[in-house]
Subunit: 292 residues, 2 copies
């Protein structure tokens, strides 16, 4: 069993990006600038956004963190999105989800100019991804593909199950892995709450992507020997042994599944850091596209 170390792989990507940015700066090129909009004080969202800002600092990107109180109106948030769309200095930006109930997340996502949508959530970017056109790929699926590629995992012709059909992970990665790309060319089965005989289906898979948000859902009896297991789950569960009182748990029963795998991602330190690395790749791309 080999651990798919997302932290180390993400660090290697960030080192390359830093080198690339330094080279561009020395030639007088603009410094990439990522803005992040955060509404409220949710601990998880704050952690994610801070990690993104920190990654920018490490690489030498400019970053702006724009914070609003929970009470911000949809109108005010929309006005900020429009402002960021029009701000020539900003190469890409994200609005951290989830948003408070009184704000229509879809309306906000749709208002982001697709050419600055470095999270890859806008329908125009998703549609282009489907057609294999240049686009910002959704950050988590793109990070998973990059993690597999850099660790020499062959995907072509492999049987893959994706567990969970969310708009931001399960659905897009099922498409990306099925397309005629490298990584890609998998035979993908997308599994969800209505699927029958889940265990039987997962047992046949060469590659398992678990993105369902249920801690420990994938147990050892569902995994064939030598499978590649990618765990996208990050659920906070109470853990008295931790100083903050909780621990991040993945969708895979790591302890019992890991011995059967050829490769497996840990949680934390697997897919999470790769998502941030993808966001950084998208931001650099955006700067380059906008300055062509």
């Amino acid at each position: 069993m080999q651990l798919l170390d997302g932290k180390a792989t993400a660090q290697a990507i960030k080192d390359e990006l830093k080198q690339a940015v330094d080279n561009r700066k020395s030639k007088g090129s603009k410094t990439p600038h990522l803005a992040a909009v955060l509404v409220g004080n949710d601990g998880g969202s704050l952690t994610y956004v801070n990690a993104k800002v920190k990654a920018c600092e490490q690489i030498g990107f400019h970053s702006s963190l724009i914070r609003y109180d929970d009470s911000v109106s949809e109108k005010e948030l929309l006005a900020k999105v429009i402002e960021l769309n029009n701000d020539e200095e900003i190469d890409g930006f994200i609005v951290q989800l989830p948003l408070p109930d009184h704000i229509d997340e879809l309306k906000i996502t749709m208002a982001i100019d697709p050419i600055k949508d470095v999270d890859g959530f806008h329908p125009q970017n998703l549609g282009k991804m489907m057609l294999n056109l240049p686009s910002f790929l959704p950050a988590t699926p793109a990070g998973i593909l990059e993690l597999m590629k850099r660790n020499g995992i062959e995907t072509s012709g492999k049987d893959c199950v994706v567990i969970g059909r969310s708009n931001i992970v399960g659905m897009p990665i099922s498409i990306m892995l099925a397309k005629k790309n490298d990584p890609g060319n998998c035979t993908v089965t997308l599994i969800h709450s209505r699927t029958k005989n889940i265990k039987e289906k997962v047992l046949k898979a060469d590659i398992i992507i678990a993105a369902i948000g249920q801690p420990g859902f994938v147990t050892a009896d569902m995994v064939k020997d030598g499978a590649v297991v990618i765990d996208v789950g990050t659920t906070r569960v109470e853990d008295a042994s931790k100083k903050n009182g909780w621990a991040l748990k993945g969708d895979v029963d790591f302890e019992n599944v890991a011995p059967k795998c050829s490769f497996i991602t840990p949680v934390p330190g697997g897919v999470g850091p790769m998502t941030i690395a993808s966001l950084m790749i998208n931001t650099l791309q955006s700067m380059e596209l906008r300055n062509k």
Copy 2:
């Protein structure tokens, strides 16, 4: 075995659309207007476009057929697309594919305003489909779903294989069937040229969608008893017994597969007429959206 009669189902839809259009006209509403652009003299394309124009006449839509010689420049064609985008009288339009080699199909498709893209090929419509947002659904997959729905075929929880990953049929229908919709909620496996053990996978399916363009690809030994088989293939093969010298052949070995099925589509008269019915549904929707 029950034949899924696409011709009869499409006729029922067209009858309903005619009724709806008549009602709207009597209230002073605009008559839906579909335009079709055809380049060159390819026999297949001409047949398809003529069938679309004829369907408009039957329903009471206005239609315009705009024909160009094979030698038309990309620039001239693009100018026509822009003109149709801006023409308030036109509710939706299609540019019949394929186009001659000197014209970039993608550039033409991307130039069509998504709100008039009644074929549902624009990335913005595909992305919205992925997110379950209101959009023009690609005509052939939407026609297949409607055909199953109107014939009482349950999809929820069923195991489905889609054979072929084209941008206009295989890939979008694999998404539409997997989503939490009705029809939908299938567990979909997308099969393509790199898939291993195809026979074994197809044999497990409750629903088989064949969209690979290889006549007779799906043979009886690949189909389990009671399966639903949808044949999207329409390849012209030589047939001396026909007066035009060829016959349309589907991807399914109909003669031997049909006796095993619960439902099966014929070729011709199955999916083809449903594609045209979907186009008509999209055109009426477009008129209604634009006049809201």
